[in-house]
Subunit: 794 residues, 2 copies
């Protein structure tokens, strides 16, 4: 590998030519719909009617792009970019156009004058390419809208990609977000043996939309201390407004060279086994300070533009109507000397392409940024290896997540060499009863190790950090680069990443519409320690709203499963891990839960997603008097308890028990691909019988999913009604009106013609309910008749 | 003020007595329901049936509590605690019991043996006090469940409280979260002249639930660099397992003394005007390292407990059933020598109380932690000062948020001396067209200032940082300590703090049930730059789901308003700023929006929350044929455009136009206090006419709110259907089926008996819709007939 050395003048000039070309291409995307090469003086009709885009960040992005291209082409280094300031999509598109990857994916946008015109006209226009990086931008794995995830995505991309360099450009705006602020610590989880390298470039251009940025206004020693405190070796590259670009190229090239040498040294030491002695490596990072909108218009109407927030979006507005501004624009664009950069046909001249890589090494063509190209089927262990035996429904009980832990253990073992599956979680793998996985993998950890540590190691593929944002960002980066994973979380705290999840759904939904994007693995959540079983915690830990949130997003992507027992959880997890381009939310308990279905029954039930549990009901062939429906483990238990009370107390009543695993089955097929047709729905739920639905989450979700069904007017839903505290499990269902006694009362209240017997049964249920409340307050524990309850069989 | 000096032996011993007392009280809360003073040997029946609580963090919290008490009582320093590891509620409760504040608020729990027994029995039991800090814990302003907000809350509490010291205990688990990681930078926004001081105590006990913590495993120089990089002067206090507590007391006392001197010096310099020259102050912070569960059981079954994750929750489980463990528990509890700490009646002995403050200085009694005690009515300017003139509906247009900016400017000016109102936002005040506020207040900023900066200053009360988490956390801290504020955000990015908002709702809901908590000001959101007008951005910026999220939380707290124009926004904002114990979400546009109502009409409309706009419809006295309902500014515009097309095209059709401002009016009064009765609802919406509802957000929300209404089966809702991109405003409504033409088609499709004329009208609407799509693709802009459209009046 070359030593860091000064560039020759010729090298610096070639880099500068590339940078100018990228800046020209970026700026023109904001403005031009014709005359792309400025062959004639600019006229208003060459200008787009609506000027949209973000110029301010572009020159920094193009600078990094140029220098990454140099590293790649000089060293054959495999690399990808994660473009934090993705609202500067014009810059990333410029790179893909210039390296020729764009024309391969978009044959209508060739690397010539006509293609250039199309590139410009398409940008940020209705029906065209969005103004932020999106799936339609080659070489990108993140939307450039919601800031904060660049570094987490970069680490996710680098895990288990030992030869890859992931360069993450972090804007100084983004750096103020919480998720980004904690992402710097991801270096304590990067295994230098099995993982690739992340090279963060903190790009200080000084301003956000209208404010200075915090980090840009720190003294350099303070910022340096911060980066060293985060565990990096910072390399500072600073360009002021008057710095000559050639000088900046020299400085940045030297910094990148130094960074690559340091990375190489770290990796060689680790891979030769020497690092264990040397301690955790301090990876390099670059602090790149350049003026915002560098090389753009210096001033407008006497106010400074370059180097200030005024260059954030369109630095010269109104150019179509103001000849003086049109002249300024032309002067600006011509300052890049396009005639030196592009030939007669608009093709880049050789000097411009001198340091631009070719083939799959191009940043626009790197396979990891279109991860589906690399995705392989997972070697999932047979479910028989972890299923629980079920002689008859309700005879036994298991902890569902413990069996899931066995499944994941098998999967981690089977992928030990492939290393394309990981488990992520915020310090809860053990608490969530998934600790079987430690038999196949340690928890990955690069910070200090102590003799008392258990299941912590340098090469583990279970990652735990108390930041749901990091877990989510890592998993997104891991999945989008062609691998597989699962995020297990306390149910309530999935809400911390609700917004990230929504952005990922948007990404996947949009990617499905981009012809060249290959499907990626599902992003899988297992939400456990759920609202009903927060025995050791309180109100803050009780929130089932993540389901509602996810179900409001693109139905082609989102799936929600509520397996009622252990074997159904295994079937659902097995399915989820095989799906593509989806976001799967699986809600499952960690506490002992009755086993209702054996493995074959579970498979059949999960395949249907919803089904009548004939063994649990009391129908006699002519349809039910009432339907007891349930979704979720605790609601299923209460529903079966209610069914067994009704069988005992009102044996004449024909009760149907319906269990729902795949909640989207409730929706109309016009609203979700999993939706049951009205005919199927009516067959299961009837058109006109009372339906008492015990649901895991907020009850109105079921109303919103079923509002167009015939039976909707007959539907009473019980669920979590935001009543919680530190209390017993049964008291939780009582507080929220979802307990067995309340369900019995609902049945009696809603089923007409039950007669006098029913009234006394209702009173009995009401009394038991009341007695329970008193018992709990007196004893601080649930009544034995609920804790010891068993499904009586038939 | 005293110099930092060594404690005398007596002082150290008094502190240690206090610490032991607090530890004893904490540990006993986890275990005992009787025999509180260990007057007899422990027997199983003294032990609670369910052992719940978190011991591991308690000894650290009690240590900080003890030393804060010393500072307060020695110096008369006003201080409050923000207890990040709030799952250690037992420790905070112990403090409030010991300082006598608890018995004042809970007369049933006196500071004696009987009260002690009640304190223990009540803890973490059904119907008792939750195991996490919650509103029932005196001196606390945050739930100890969802981690990450301690430091942001602390800064929010310190703003505009110049004499207050806010000590924020940050657990090393919490420190891994994103929100906490960026909260350190809040020191760039703390004005040493007008604000109080924040003293962060980073408590490294080394472990989370089951993992080591990142920060505890860093070398000390790296952690020190991190803290200096964050802009602090760290003071390290380290106690190992074998450190004598007296030594630890001496070290921590010295660190706290040093910190207070430094804080005093910073404040004196700033308040004398000397700081402007000296530059941004580097505030002190303390890194306190102690073993997890320090002073608790050393071992269990041969495994280390103290100093490891095994002491996280209940360090000795199963004590009721295992005599040996019961013996271990007794030995542990007796190790605090309770007989030296409490007298015969269970009252704390004088030595224990020597450094415990009195009156409002007590941490359990500090008025700021029960902020409603300090809350004053806001001097809101008369709305006439910022209302817009409206000659007739739709004649003019204004930018709603610009007028709101005028209202806020007036409020900021009127509170210039009181300093009890602040505006928070993530770098968007300008972008959200609220910049009028700068006439009354700068943006507060303590980092570097440049000559080119505008509206940035040391003493501003508008705070902008690119972290919604910080904005939210600051506002929560500010409001909970008795002040008022507003958070203005891009609509989509409110989702970033969905989880924080839910926790705040839980806090307020629970606080309403605590007799001694006084009502606090509303937490107000203005969500603008909303889903329909993301002209400059794309899909990532289009998400109206925050409304759905908030409406799923406690209805006694949450309110959502969708003002259709400028004057209604002013009325809604004025109302929101006067409310107590609520979370108000106001969604409003920043782009020019037709003025429909003058100020008086707006007041009347907002007072009702929903109303028939007779001037917009074509009823002739015998009820409508169809109802066009709308909520939100863009839906209102499209609805009125549809109404005017129908008037022109189908003049015989009796159309009623209904506008909804307060979305909870749609709900049943059993589900939300603002819900209309069925009779009122039917009067407005009819029981049986088709209702075409154009709604700002996800359409199913309206279904879920109205599912029990008579007219529900006749309801068709149009809204945002997750179809977005960078495109024109009208194309957005077309893509989502909420455009005027689509609404006309809906009316025709759903109103029976319209005859042949209607079919041709429908075709005309469909043609116009199609023509628009083509126009947009060809011109990159909306058709003039929609951009130039004006309400024709009557």
């Amino acid at each position: 590998m070359p030593e860091p050395m000064s560039l020759t003048d010729r090298e610096a000039e070639a880099l500068d030519a590339q940078w100018r070309a990228l800046n020209y291409l970026s700026a023109c995307q904001l403005y031009l719909r014709a005359n792309p090469l400025l062959r004639e003086p600019l006229r208003p009709e060459h200008i787009k009617p609506r000027l949209l885009g973000h110029w301010g960040t572009c020159p920094g992005l193009t600078l990094v792009h140029t220098h990454l291209n140099r590293l790649i082409s000089e060293r054959g280094q495999r690399a990808m970019g994660v473009w934090g300031p993705g609202h500067g999509a014009a810059a990333v598109l410029a790179g893909a156009w210039l390296d020729g990857s764009y024309q391969e994916l978009r044959p209508d946008v060739q690397r010539d004058g006509a293609g250039m015109e199309r590139l410009f006209a398409d940008f940020s226009q209705p029906g065209g390419v969005p103004s932020h990086t999106s799936p339609s931008v080659p070489g990108s794995i993140q939307e450039g809208g919601e800031l904060g995830y660049a570094l987490a995505h970069a680490y996710g991309a680098a895990f288990d990609n030992p030869d890859l360099l992931v360069c993450a450009v972090v804007g100084d705006g983004e750096a103020e977000t919480g998720p980004l602020a904690t992402s710097w610590h991801a270096n304590k989880f990067l295994d230098p043996v099995h993982d690739g390298a992340v090279l963060p470039v903190l790009h200080l251009n000084g301003y956000k939309i209208a404010n200075p940025t915090v980090l840009a206004r720190l003294p350099e020693d303070e910022l340096g201390a911060l980066m060293r405190g985060y565990g990096y070796e910072p390399l500072f590259v600073t360009a002021e407004q008057d710095t000559s670009p050639l000088e900046a190229h020299r400085a940045l090239a030297a910094a990148f060279d130094r960074a690559l040498e340091r990375i190489g040294a770290i990796q060689r030491a680790a891979r030769s086994g020497a690092v264990e002695a040397a301690g955790r490596p301090h990876w390099p990072m670059v602090v790149l300070r350049t003026p915002k909108g560098w090389s753009g218009p210096r001033e407008l109407d006497g106010e400074p533009v370059e180097g200030t927030w005024r260059s954030h979006q369109v630095p010269l507005p109104g150019v179509r109507d103001d000849p003086e501004r049109l002249r300024q624009l032309e002067e600006w664009l011509r300052s890049y000397r396009p005639e030196e950069l592009f030939d007669q046909d608009g093709r880049p001249r050789p000097e411009v392409l001198e340091c631009v890589p070719e083939g799959d090494l191009r940043l626009g063509a790197v396979p990891e940024a279109n991860g589906g190209r690399l995705l392989r089927e997972l070697p999932l262990p047979p479910l028989e290896s972890c299923a629980v035996p079920v002689e008859r429904p309700g005879a036994g009980a298991h902890e569902p997540t413990r069996a899931l832990g066995e499944l994941l253990r098998g999967l981690l073992a089977a992928t030990e060499d492939r290393r394309d599956f990981r488990l992520f979680g915020p310090d809860e793998t053990d608490s969530n009863h998934l600790s079987a996985v430690y038999a196949a993998s340690d928890r990955g950890w690069q910070a200090g190790l102590l003799g008392t540590d258990e299941h912590l190691g340098r090469h583990g593929r279970v990652l735990e950090v108390l930041s749901e944002h990091l877990c989510q960002g890592w998993l997104e980066g891991y999945v989008l680069t062609g691998r597989n994973g699962l995020f297990a979380s306390y149910e309530a705290f999935a809400n911390l990443v609700a917004s990230m999840a929504a952005q990922h759904v948007k990404w996947v939904h949009s990617a499905r519409e981009v012809s060249w994007r290959r499907p990626v693995a599902a992003l899988n959540y297992v939400l456990t320690s759920h609202a009903w079983r927060q025995d050791h915690n309180g109100f803050s830990h009780q929130d089932p709203g993540f389901i509602d949130h996810v179900l409001s997003k693109s139905p082609d992507v989102v799936r929600v499963y509520l397996p009622p027992d252990t074997n159904t959880l295994l079937c659902v997890a097995d399915h989820a891990l095989r799906t593509r381009d989806t976001v799967n939310v699986v809600v499952a308990g960690k506490h002992p839960c009755f086993d209702w279905l054996d493995l074959d029954q579970a498979r059949a039930h999960c395949a249907r997603g919803v089904g009548v549990w004939g063994w649990a009901g009391t129908e006699r062939g002519d349809g039910p008097d009432v339907v007891l429906a349930c979704a979720g483990d605790v609601p299923t238990q209460e529903t079966l308890a209610a069914a067994s009370l009704l069988r005992e107390w009102l044996p004449q009543l024909a009760v149907r028990v319906v269990n729902v695993v795949d909640i989207a089955r409730l929706m109309s097929p016009t609203e979700h691909p999993h939706g049951l047709s009205d005919a199927e729905f009516d067959t299961v739920f009837t058109r006109d019988r009372p339906v008492i639905f015990a649901y895991h989450g907020y009850p109105w979700l079921v109303h919103r999913l079923t509002y167009s069904r015939a039976v909707h007017g007959q539907l009473a839903v019980r669920g979590y009604r935001e009543s919680g505290s530190t209390t017993t499990p049964f008291d939780m269902v009582v507080r929220n009106g979802m307990d067995r006694y309340h369900l019995v009362m609902d049945v009696i209240d809603r089923t007409p013609g039950l007669g006098a017997r029913a009234a006394s049964v209702r009173q009995r249920a009401a009394d038991l309910r009341e007695r329970h409340r008193e018992y709990v307050l007196a004893h601080g524990a649930d009544m034995p008749e609920v804790t010891d309850w068993r499904w009586p069989g038939r």
